[in-house]
Amino acid sequence: MLYFSKLRIIFIAIISLFFIFIASSNFLKFNNEFLNKKINLGLDLQGGSYLLLEIDNKPVVEQKLQNLTVIIRNYFKDKNIKVTNFKLINQNLFFTSDKNFRQIILDEFNSEDSKINPYYQRFKSHQLEIIEEDNFFKVYYSKQGIVNLKTSSQDQALEIVRRRIDEIGTNEPNILKRGNDRILVELPGLDDPMRIKSLLGKTANLTFRFVTNSSEDSFGAEKLLFEDGSEEAIVSKRIILSGDNLLDAQPRMNNDTNETVVTFSLDRVGAKRFGKATSTGIGKRLAIILDGKIISAPVIRDTIATGSGQISGGFTFKSATDLALLLRSGALPAPLNIIEERTVGPDLGQDSIKAGMIALIIGFVLVVLFILVKYRVFGAITNITLILNLFILIGILTLFEATLTLPGIAGIILTVGMAVDANVLIFERIKEELKDEKNNLIAFDSGYVKSKTAILDANITTLLAAIILFFMGSGPIKGFSLTLGIGIFTTLFSVYFIARLLTVLYVSKNKDKEGII
């Protein structure tokens, strides 16, 4: 146990120096890219916002089933089968047909190469399930169908969320999928999340539809409120233009009316439709609807063939800017709800770093003094080890550019407190061995050997706790388990290599000294 080859000593020295070097790159500036690594500060230390968004897929399912009515009707019409009485209740689509065709309809839905009901070969499942009850059919999304729908709406939503956040220009946002209907957004350095929250909270579903006088419109009509809630209007369900047709949108000052407006330009298809609608609909009111509320409903005075136009609606410059941003980045496939928010202001982050560092330094000094008083020379060895241990720990965190959180700092402090345990176990064992053994070298050797299992046991138990925390915990708590877990490895390394090396050097020079420890 007590022999160290030259090679080993060099190895220990290189590793220690390497990590001290890496750790110091947090405080010094290196021009080398490899060395210029830094520990990332968690949101709780640098300030910022953590938002967990949940996609509300219910409207999507309903919309898809609604669209399905037309598809089913037309499909069977071509086959001279009449299906009628479509009803959408609770995400189930009901319809009826003549008795003679029942089996054909079921076969059409359940065949593996069904034209109306995609079959997922991989999952051995159709998109839709169909059940025949007394005198009607019930169609609903299968389990796999729902999963596919959720995944695709999550993909789309992620893209839109990214675009909206990029438009605002926060630095290094982190946008991740969680499960199949959630999106996690981390925005470092953001101190006012209100704007982002309101931007992400809007679906931004824009449509242009004619205002009709009655509900006799062949496409159906609905009563919608104006944005300010002041009045309502009956609007046709026929969509003239939607947000998909927009190429660009910008806030502008209209010099004639001295009003802030949002100007937009349309793609080719959109421009054509807009031109046609404005030429046939002169004198009618065209409602501009965002997320089910009418922004404004101007009267069409002229044909607009240029493919551009403007939306007015009593905007402030700020609200016009935000609307333009939403329109540019596109509509979300489904509404998003913010189900968790954690925001830390930058000054609290600063205070936390300061408090964490002060606690670390004081904790460190207290432990070092206590150990020094208790063990003298070996206390000094333990303390040198402890310092190197700390450097190696910080070095590893830096090397992997890990995220340091406030609980993470607590984990480091706790590591300082518990790291001495291994050395204490060894030294106490050596003391016992020295009672019967006069040869220092032999006593030290057996002290190291006999304390080994206890040290391993003790560290494995703490490691188990840290691993569970790492996998179950979120955000800041993960940071705690990370530093605690890595701390166990650095402690074992520094105790069995660095401290033992120093101990060996000292003991071999004081072989016969009595009361050495």
Binding site: E340, G345, D347, S352, I362, P407, A410, V424, A465, S481
Partner: protein
């Protein structure tokens, strides 16, 4: 040598009553769950105007119709913590901001805002309970592989004692249970195990060495032999934790307090619970040698 074994019975009775009291507290008084587990909103404010008192802030906010709202000082006179439960009002945070700016003239700085929806808080509570259960199960498996069943039982009883009594104390004092407390409890589990295992390791070693010493005496010898290590490690760990408690800021207060309780209970239980289980199960040299043969 200190005769720890003289007090085995007395401390067993004490521990049993502590566990029962804690369980009663947990059942009847319950835990004070923070927003992580109950859902709701938390806002930490700092005022630049020293004249603003917690009472005026409370009066102002209670007029806002946000349901049961709690307002108190946080750490010092100019920091405030506002808490309220989830309600229909999705823009409550924004409205509070507007209202405070209007009533107190921009003198508040929003240092921290946390909002946890009901679905998320349920999930967090579930995963917290799972984490602690998995930790206890893993420790059980580990100790079962490493030691004979009598030792495992002792270690697990010590573990349950520490977790239950720590939570009981949190219930008694009405301290808030949040995510960091779960982290603390898990660390306590690790620490308590650590402490117990070191003593058990010595007990087993001594069982092999001495065939003529009864377990009652033998545990006492083992505790004494490992005592200075037990104390030194507890002291350095407590020094680190006290430093976090006093200097680490308000956010880590609950966490470090739970850990401090845990370390004290953990040290106590490895002496007075884990070992007494061995005594009561009348562990002897045969127990250890049988296992060695297997």
């Amino acid at each position: 040598m200190i005769s720890f074994n003289k007090f085995y019975n007395k401390f067993n009775i004490l521990s049993a009553s502590l566990v029962i009291i804690s369980l009663l507290l947990l059942i009847f008084k319950g835990l004070n769950f923070g927003i992580d587990f109950k859902g709701g909103t938390l806002i930490e404010l700092r005022s630049t105007d020293s004249k603003i008192k917690v009472s005026s802030l409370r009066d102002n906010l209670s007029q806002m119709n946000l349901g049961d709202i709690s307002v108190k000082n946080f750490g010092n006179e100019s920091d405030f913590l506002i808490k309220f439960e989830n309600n229909e009002n999705k823009n409550a945070i924004e409205q509070i901001k507007i209202n405070l700016d209007k009533s107190f003239g921009n003198s508040f700085n929003f240092r921290r805002v946390e909002n946890v929806g009901p679905k998320v808080s349920d999930e967090l509570l579930k995963s917290g309970v799972i984490a602690i259960s998995v930790a206890l199960a893993l420790m059980l498996i580990y100790i079962w592989i490493r030691f004979e069943w009598q030792f495992s039982l002792g270690a697990i009883m010590a573990l349950f004692h520490d977790v239950i009594v720590t939570l009981g104390l949190f219930s008694l004092l009405g301290l808030e249970i949040n995510l960091s407390i779960i982290a603390a409890v898990l660390t306590i589990v690790g620490y308590s195990m650590n402490d117990t295992v070191v003593i058990f390791d010595r007990v087993r070693e001594n069982l092999r060495k001495y065939s003529d010493i009864k377990i009652f005496e033998l545990t006492n010898i083992s505790i004494n032999e490992t005592l200075s290590r037990t104390l030194i490690t507890s002291i350095t760990t407590l020094l680190a934790l006290l430093s976090i408690f006093f200097f680490g800021g308000e956010v880590l207060k609950g966490f470090s307090l739970a850990m401090i309780f845990g370390v004290i209970f953990g040290t106590y239980s490895s002496i007075y619970i884990a070992n007494t289980v061995l005594v009561r199960l009348n562990v002897s040299q045969k127990t250890v040698l049988k296992e060695d043969k297997n």
